[in-house]
C-alpha cells in the first residue's frame, strides 16, 4: 500500500509535466484555430479515439499478436545464439561479426523485400521484429554468461562440474540480471518494430490503421493510435518486471 503510494509519488513530476504539456497544446490549438487535419487538440484525439475505439481495438489485436510471435521468435533465436556462443569459442568467432553485421542492415530498405519474399502474412513482420530485437537479447545473454566469476568457475570445477553443470548451476542463473535488462530493451523495440512492419504492408494492425488515417487526413486518429501503441509498449515493459519477480526474484536490486 505504502509501496504503491510511494511509486505514485515518484511518478508525480512526470505526470505534472505531461499535464502541463497537454494544457499548453490544448490552449495553442484553441487560440490559433489551427485546422485539426494539421494539429488536433489533445481532447479531440481522446474523444475521436474513443469514438473509434472498436476499430482501434480491432487493429491493436493483430499488432499485439505479431509482436508476441515476433518477440517469441526473437527470444528463441537470441537464446540459441547466446548459448551456442557460450559453449563454443569457434561459434563465438564465427557468429559475433555476423551479429554485428545484422544490425547494420537498413530495415527500411529490407522490409519491402521481405514482403515480396514472404507475402502479407505473419512471416515478414515476424522477421522484422526478430531482426530488430534479437540482437540486444543475444548480446545481453552472452555478456551475462561471460560475466561469471573465474573463482566461481574454479569452485564448480573443483566440485567436478562438467561444462554443462557449470552452465546450469552458475552461468545461466548468473546471467539473469543482464537478461532482464536486455529483455526490457528488446520489448520496447518489438512494438515499434511491429508497427513499422505493418506500415510497410499488412491487412490489419495499428500500423495499417495509422497509414490509412493519415491518407484520409485524420491526424487525430493517427495520434490516438500512437497513444495506444505507447500504452502497449509501457505495459509490456512493466510486464517484464512482473516476469522477473516470478522467475528470478533474487536478481532485482533492493
Amino acid at each position: 500500500m505504502t509501496g504503491a503510494l510511494g511509486r505514485l509519488r515518484r511518478l508525480t513530476p512526470a505526470l505534472v509535466l505531461v499535464l502541463v504539456g497537454l494544457a499548453v497544446w490544448q490552449w495553442y490549438v484553441t487560440a490559433s484555430a489551427v485546422r485539426p487535419q494539421v494539429l488536433p487538440s489533445p481532447l479531440r484525439v481522446l474523444t475521436e479515439g474513443w469514438a473509434f475505439r472498436a476499430q482501434i481495438w480491432a487493429n491493436a489485436l493483430p499488432t499485439l499478436q505479431v509482436t508476441a510471435v515476433g518477440f517469441a521468435v526473437s527470444l528463441a533465436v537470441g537464446w540459441a545464439i547466446a548459448v551456442a556462443v557460450d559453449f563454443s569459442p569457434w561459434l563465438r568467432r564465427a557468429l559475433t561479426p555476423l551479429l554485428v553485421a545484422s544490425q547494420t542492415l537498413p530495415i527500411i530498405a529490407i522490409a519491402p523485400l521481405l514482403i515480396i519474399w514472404f507475402g502479407f502474412g505473419l512471416a515478414p513482420k515476424v522477421v522484422v521484429i526478430a531482426l530488430v530485437t534479437f540482437f540486444p537479447i543475444a548480446v545481453g545473454l552472452i555478456e551475462g554468461f561471460g560475466r561469471t566469476d573465474r573463482q566461481a568457475t574454479n569452485l564448480l570445477r573443483s566440485m567436478g562440474a562438467s561444462r554443462w553443470a557449470q552452465f546450469r548451476y552458475v552461468r545461466l542463473p548468473g546471467a539473469m540480471p543482464s537478461f532482464f535488462t536486455a529483455l526490457r530493451i528488446g520489448i520496447t523495440y518489438a512494438v515499434t518494430g511491429a508497427i513499422f512492419a505493418e506500415y510497410v504492408g499488412a491487412s490489419a494492425g495499428l500500423g495499417i490503421f495509422m497509414n490509412l488515417q493519415k491518407n484520409s487526413f485524420r491526424t487525430d486518429l493517427v495520434l490516438a493510435a500512437v497513444l495506444v501503441t505507447a500504452l502497449i509498449s509501457v505495459s509490456l515493459y512493466g510486464l517484464t518486471f512482473l516476469v522477473q519477480r516470478l522467475v528470478a526474484p533474487w536478481s532485482r536490486r533492493g
Binding site: 566461481a152 574454479n154 573443483s158 533474487w250 536478481s251
Partner: protein, 263 residues
C-alpha cells in the same frame, strides 16, 4: 621411496613446478601433510600461493611434479580435494541450504539426501534456522561458515582453504578462528590453509610453511608445538609470541630477498 612416503601421509606435494609463459611461479614446491593435520601456508603477497592451490586442487596442470593423496598419484584430479576460494561465492539464487549442497548436487547426490547431509551440519556451524534464508541475509562470518560447510560436506580427503577469513573484519575473524579451532577437533579434517595472517596461521595450524617470493618454494617450516584445544588466552603466551616472531622473520626474509632480486 615416494610411494612409501606417500603411504604414511595424507597428502604429498612433490617438486611442483609451474610457469605462465615466461613467468615461473612455482619453483619446485615440496611438502607433505599427515592425516588429520592442519598445515598453514604463508608467504609474501604475489608469491604464487593461489597458483599452488590451483595446481594442487587439479584446476591447473603442473609443468613438473606430482600430487599424491593416500600414496596414489592425484595430479590433475579434483575429487580428493574440497576447495574453498577467497570469496564465499554463495549464490543469491539459492537458499543457504541449497548453496551448501551445491557440491553434492554436482556430484550427483539426490537433492533430498544432499539436503539431509548438509542440514546436519547447520547446528555445529552456527547456521541453524538459516536454512531457507538467502545468502544476502547472513552476516559476513555466517557467510564464511556457510562456504566452509559447502566445502566440508563434500567429504573429500583434503580441505584447501584459500584465505577463508581474509575479507572479514578483525573481530569477526578472531571469532571465526576460535570457532574453527573448536569445530575442527571433532571432525578430524586434513586441512591446507593459505593465509596472510601469521597469527591465524600459528593459532590454527600444526605446522606453518613459509613460502619464498616468486618463483616460490617452501623456505621454512615452523612446527607449532602448542597444545590443543587452543583458546584465545594462548595468543598472549610467550611461546605463541616466539612462534609468531619466527614465522614473521622468515616471511620478512623472503620478502627482502625478493626485493633484492628485482633490482
Amino acid at each position: 621411496m615416494a610411494e612409501l612416503k606417500g603411504a604414511e601421509h595424507k597428502l604429498v606435494i612433490e617438486g611442483l613446478r609451474k610457469a605462465f609463459g615466461p613467468l615461473p611461479v612455482l619453483d619446485g614446491v615440496d611438502f607433505d601433510v599427515a592425516p588429520g593435520e592442519f598445515v598453514a601456508l604463508v608467504g609474501p603477497s604475489g608469491c604464487g600461493k593461489s597458483t599452488l592451490f590451483d595446481v594442487v586442487a587439479g584446476l591447473e596442470p603442473p609443468d613438473a611434479g606430482r600430487v599424491l593423496v593416500d600414496g596414489a598419484d592425484a595430479t590433475g584430479r579434483v575429487d580428493p580435494f574440497a576447495y574453498m576460494p577467497q570469496r564465499d561465492l554463495l549464490f543469491p539464487w539459492r537458499t543457504v541450504l541449497d548453496n551448501t549442497t551445491l557440491g553434492l548436487e554436482v556430484a550427483g547426490v539426490p537433492r533430498k539426501a544432499a539436503r539431509a547431509r548438509a542440514g546436519e551440519l547447520f547446528e555445529p556451524f552456527g547456521l541453524a534456522g538459516f536454512e531457507k534464508a538467502r545468502p544476502g541475509e547472513l552476516s559476513g562470518g555466517m557467510r564464511q561458515r556457510a562456504a566452509l560447510l559447502r566445502t566440508v560436506v563434500q567429504d573429500r580427503a583434503v580441505l584447501l582453504l584459500d584465505e577463508p577469513f581474509g575479507a572479514l573484519d578483525a573481530l569477526t575473524r578472531i571469532d571465526m578462528q576460535l570457532w574453527l579451532e573448536g569445530v575442527r577437533a571433532g571432525f578430524g579434517w586434513t586441512v591446507l590453509l593459505i593465509t596472510h595472517d601469521i597469527r591465524e596461521a600459528v593459532f590454527l595450524a600444526d605446522r606453518v610453511l613459509v613460502l619464498g617470493p616468486r618463483p616460490t618454494s617452501v623456505r621454512h617450516e615452523t612446527v607449532v608445538d602448542l597444545p590443543r584445544p587452543r583458546d584465545v588466552s594462548m595468543i598472549t603466551q610467550p611461546r605463541f609470541a616466539e612462534l609468531e616472531a619466527e614465522v614473521l622473520g622468515q616471511v620478512g626474509r623472503g620478502r627482502a630477498a625478493g626485493a633484492d632480486s628485482e633490482h
